[in-house]
């Protein structure tokens, strides 16, 4: 049941607890209790809205940075990742297999801002060996949502 609730919330965080109850065949109170539990144990980390900022006046530049690090004795990569994710401009940090160690996604107002962040804050950090910064040119799909969805229902309005 928990997984079913999570799956519904993952695709639409605004679905009401009443509606979740109806479609899963349990009471609204049960849904609310489950969600409270999931929030308390941080299974649910938070609720985001997926925004296409291109449609607004706000300038947003996203960059994906490949970071190589020297893991510190005894604490591995976690301590370094922790220092990196403290910065509010960092939206995601992942530990990777393969040619580099951390993927750091950052958002800034301009390329310059991002570049300054990398050169002044990220690159000089202890244990960070190198940074390769890739700017996102265009977003097509994020978290399951397509940026320019095909809205129109192609079907006839009535079909027996």
């Amino acid at each position: 049941m928990q997984q079913k609730i999570l799956a519904l919330l993952e695709t639409n965080a605004r679905i009401s607890t009443e509606q979740i109850g109806i479609v899963l065949g349990i009471s609204q109170a049960e849904v609310e209790a489950e969600i409270k539990k999931l929030e308390a144990d941080h299974t649910i980390l938070g609720y985001n809205t997926i925004v296409n900022w291109e449609k607004t006046d706000r300038e947003v530049v996203t960059a994906l940075i490949e970071v190589k690090v020297t893991p510190q004795r005894g604490i591995g990569f976690d301590k370094i990742a922790e220092r990196v994710y403290q910065y509010p401009e960092v939206t995601s940090v992942y530990l990777m297999s393969g040619g580099f160690d951390l993927t750091v996604v950052i958002e800034g107002k301009s390329m310059k801002e991002v570049a300054l962040f990398v050169s002044q804050k990220l690159a000089p950090m202890d244990s960070i060996l190198s940074c390769a910064t890739h700017f996102v040119l265009k977003k097509y799909k994020q978290n399951g949502f397509v940026y320019t969805p095909d809205e129109k229902d192609q079907r006839a309005a009535i079909w027996l």
């Binding site: 509606q19 479609v23 006839a156 079909w159 027996l160």
Partner: protein
Amino acid sequence: MMESMISSRIDIIKPSGIRKFFDIVTQMEDVISLGVGEPDFATPWHVREEAIYALEKGRTNYTSNSGLLELRQEISRYLATSYQINYKPETEVLVTVGASEAIDLAMRALINPGDEVLIPEPSYVSYSPCVILAGGVPVAVPTTEKTDFRLTSADLASCITDKTKILILPYPNNPTGAIMDRENLIDIAQVLRQHNILIISDEIYSELTYDGEHVSIAAIEGMYDRTLVINGFSKSFAMTGWRLGYAAGPEVLIAAMTKIHQYAIMCCPTISQYAAVEALRNGMDSVKRMQEEYDRRRKLLVHGFNEIGLECFEPKGAFYVFPCIRSLNMTSEEFCDQLLKTERVAVVPGNAFGDSGEGYIRCSYAYSLANLQTALERIGRFVARVKQA
């Protein structure tokens, strides 16, 4: 001049009375429609991709009349694993242009002038015209909400005459969403066993069964030899536009149907057939995902209609709910017409599916939850207004 040239057989097929209503719907803008009998999902991507590969490889020739052997083998395997019914791919399976063609072929292959065909109603609209065009006599077997629109042995027995040759078994049912579970099938099988009646089981919605497994009547004792199973890819795999279905049954009947098919159609679209192979091999997860989403919507709609005060029995199959509007003292057509004009929501009057559908409306849930929610709000407003007046 041309009018007098048209075959008199065509005149026997009555033009649908609700054509006018349909015309109004299609001309209106910004309508929220719950009127469509096809999935809102696109065909799963891996299936579409397989079709693209087939095109790239130049698979653009005819296949054998009966369909790609590879596909018939997959169909045979699917029917055996899902419904425990076994058919030889070489001689007992025919790939058709949708389940629709299979229905037409079966009628033409079986009916002699005057043969009666039993059609439980309300049901899909093509059975009766196919029977008429084949020279048969359609006989409606009304089903009611009292039995959850299932066919009972008593109703069936009361309609059988010396001329009865075929029973069409349209479950899971469009438009009611009714199903026939194993016990219901055993019940009617008792009657059928006493007569020389063939069953054409249209199981196109078999994958969309909720709270239980679909059972084919061909799997009921003594029924296999007298049953033609019809199914297809349109509903289960969201492949309506590919036009692909199939029939499986006794070799003699499949051979007779193939005879007509080879002259009328030659063979089904090759690209569609390759896509269907992929669908059956690797598409069952997608089917399950869609089925689960339909189930959520089904619950939302049933709950919504009961809240609104329109009694709605819980359908166990297909993607329709069939709420009763009798409490409002209006006909199905009046309801649909006024709902469309005042709230811009399109649903289908129940009488489109036979006289026994009068007093009901068909609402499809092949729409997103958000869309259904908005439609429910509007229908609720409309019903409240009618009740006040």
